[in-house]
Each structure stands twice: as structure tokens, then as C-alpha cells.
Symmetry: C2
Subunit: 201 residues, 2 copies
DNA sequence: TAAGGGAACTAAACAGTGTTCAGTTTGTTA
DNA sequence: TAACAAACTGAACACTGTTTAGTTCCCTTA
């Protein structure tokens, strides 16, 4: 039945239309302007229609959360071409911070927004998160193999490196660092350099 | 004029009453239940009365934010009695994490909640934050003086140590760490131990 | 002590929010 | 062509933060 297929496609493209409108609103006008009525206005449908495609507003945000994770993972993949694992580990940390500061709202969506665990658990996002984490863990494991870092457990090492860059990003994004803007990039460089040299064997 | 003084006191105690009600609501029922009407119900006044004491809801939250910072600073001060600076630095990091995990909602209020910078700038909170930061910086400076850590700049060192524990806490509080609960405290210990030993000279 | 004035407080309303539901239109099937 | 189901919407509900007009009460002054 081609008609059923077409209806499925139409349904999916309608969902995408709504999610794109929601994402645009979020990125351009902030989270407080992502309202059902604003999304509906943007796509020229009535607010009630949105509820035919999504259970509630949380489900919409959860899809945005997944989209953000997908983009993040794509950015991460770019460092896979770096051959030397220690160089890859260092560069990916740098790029993690750069990506997050270039896409602060997407980062917010990924790590700072409150999202119920049950809805995370039953989602593709866990997979993306785990993929992402496994990428890092693999790099750390390679570094351990070459005896270039001061950890022996890949899981522990991955957590430590992730934690470090996440800390920097989350303090900066939430503007809890009181340094003048022009000194921030120097501060980041110094923080990374110190950490890397301390972790290097 | 004693009457003016009394009125001042009454006004202050009214504000406290409202803030306590708001804090109780926040800690027991979550941020989404801190509504003007719920606060008003709790203290048995009309919602409009609250606006005679606070400009808007943001101002109330900002006072809660300050209260949280005050409690945090009090907790931090307890480590000042530790004589050896390197021991003090390590213990205070541990205690930072313990306090944050024991008071996750207060920590949220301090570091994760969105708060406009202009309202932060004109507040006593900057002072408390800076006091807190200076405490840490002083300890780091002492460690540098004794040549016990691998940084030479107190500001950089303070940022690095703060960043590390903040990263751990923020990942844990937002439940982005996928480890089973019973392994978490071991993970934290390992993360701290590795970091401390890497930073020690 | 009486009157005036200002501070304290509130009921009711406004504009916005997420969400639901009865009812209408549209497209597909028998 | 008639029947049915899917798609869509207007209008409502219960909630939100906030404002305003109006009332009550206490303090100051004559």
C-alpha cells in the first residue's frame, strides 16, 4: 500500500516541520519563547494540531535534546582521523570546548536542561551519548596502551577528561567565570595545557 | 523614632517569611511549584502582597540564590582550620562535592540556574562568590609557596581545582553519568585521587 | 481626641501559558 | 456515492506572573 507509506512520510515531515520551528525559536528567541502557540503560529497550524504529533511539550524538547546530541556527535567524529591517540585526546578536548562555546544553546540542551531520566532511558539519546563516550574511552584506552597518560582504567580516564572539559564549558556558559571576555580564551588554553601536562606520563 | 525602626524590622521579617516559604516550596516541591500563588497561600496573604516586598519573581529567586551561596560559603569556611595547605586543598575539594551532593537543589540555584548577569553584578552574591574564590586562591597560593603543586599562578590553579570539582558535581546532579548509583562514590574517589596525584609536584 | 494621610493589604482582572475536547473538514475506502 | 476514519481547529479549562483600583488600618498632627 503506497498510500500508507506516503501518509507515514507526511506524518514524519510534519513532525520535522514542527521540530525545526521549535529549534529555530529556541536558538533565536530563547527557551522562554518556545511555546506551543509560537510553534503553531510559525508553521501556520493551530496549537491543538501539535498535540496530534507530540504527547506534550516535554516530548518536543526531548527531540530537540536528541537533535543537539546528534550534531555534537557529528562534530566529535571529525577528530577520528587524527592518528596519534594522545594528540587526538588533546585536540578533541579543545574541539569539545570550541564546539560548546560556538553552540551554547545546543550544549544547554544536552547537559544542563532538566530532563527526566525515564524519558532519557527509553531514547536513542542514550545510544548517541554512549557512542560519544565510547569514542573517548577508545582514545583513552589507546593512550593507556602507549603508556602516555597517568591512568590505567579507560573508564576512569574517559570520565576524568570528559569531566574536565565539561566543567570549563559549564562554568563559561553559565557565566560564573568573572574574567573579562578578552582573557577567557587565554584562560582556557592555560587550563587545558596545565591539565594535559599533568596527565601526561 | 522607634516606630520607623519597628516598621523596618517588620518589613524585613515579612520578606524573610516570604523567602522562607519560597525556599521550602523549592526544596520540597521543586522549582515548578514555586509560584507566587503558592508562596502566598503558604504564608496566608494574597498574591498581590508579595509584590509590595519584591519587584518580581526573579528578585525572589535571586534572594534564594544568595541564600544558597551563603550556606555554601559557611560550609567552605569549616576547612580553614586545616593547617597544611595541600591537605586543605584536597579536603575542601572532597567537601565541596559532598556538600553539593547533599544539597543538590542549592547547588542548582548557585551554578546551574539561569540568572541575568546584571542582577548578579549588583548583588552581595558577587562578594560571597569572590570571598569563596579567594579562599580557594589563598590555599592554592600557599601550595605554590611550598612548591607542592604543578601550577605557578594562583588564579589559574584556583580555576583548575574549582573547575574539576564543579565538573564532577554538575555531571552527577544532572544525572548525565550513567554509572549505577552504588559505584558513584567509588568513581568520585578515584577521579579525585587521580587528579590530586597528577597535580601534586 | 478627631481628622487627615499614608502604609498595608486584597479582589479582580489581564494577558499569557500547556492542554483537552467537541465539532468540522478532508481524503480514502467499500 | 455513502460511510468511515484521519486531520485539523475554535473554544474552553486551569494554571501562570503581574497590575490596578479600592479598602482597611495605624500613625501623625492639629
Amino acid at each position: 500500500m503506497g498510500i500508507v507509506d506516503r501518509k507515514d512520510r507526511e506524518r514524519e515531515s510534519m513532525k520535522s516541520l514542527m521540530l525545526e520551528a521549535a529549534m529555530e525559536l529556541y536558538l533565536s528567541k530563547g527557551i522562554e519563547n518556545v511555546t506551543i502557540r509560537n510553534i503553531a503560529d510559525k508553521i501556520e497550524f493551530s496549537p491543538a494540531t501539535i498535540y496530534l504529533y507530540f504527547k506534550d511539550k516535554d516530548e518536543i524538547f526531548f527531540h530537540l535534546y536528541n537533535l543537539a546530541f546528534g550534531k555534537f556527535y557529528q562534530a566529535q567524529l571529525r577528530d577520528e582521523s587524527i592518528v596519534d591517540p594522545w594528540e587526538r585526546l588533546q585536540k578533541s578536548g579543545m574541539h569539545y570546548i570550541e564546539w560548546a562555546l560556538a553552540n551554547p544553546k545546543l550544549y544547554d540542551l544536552m547537559f544542563i536542561l532538566e530532563i527526566p531520566m525515564d524519558v532519557i532511558a527509553e531514547s536513542s539519546c542514550v545510544d548517541i551519548g554512549i557512542n560519544s563516550y565510547n569514542l573517548l574511552k577508545k582514545t583513552v584506552a589507546e593512550c593507556i596502551g602507549r603508556d602516555s597518560i597517568k591512568v590505567s582504567d579507560p573508564d576512569l580516564g574517559a570520565m576524568i577528561f570528559w569531566n574536565y572539559v565539561h566543567g570549563i564549558v559549564s562554568l563559561l556558559i553559565k557565566k560564573r567565570v568573572l574574567y573579562p571576555a578578552e582573557h577567557v580564551s587565554r584562560l582556557i588554553d592555560a587550563m587545558l595545557a596545565t591539565f594535559y601536562s599533568a596527565m601526561q606520563k
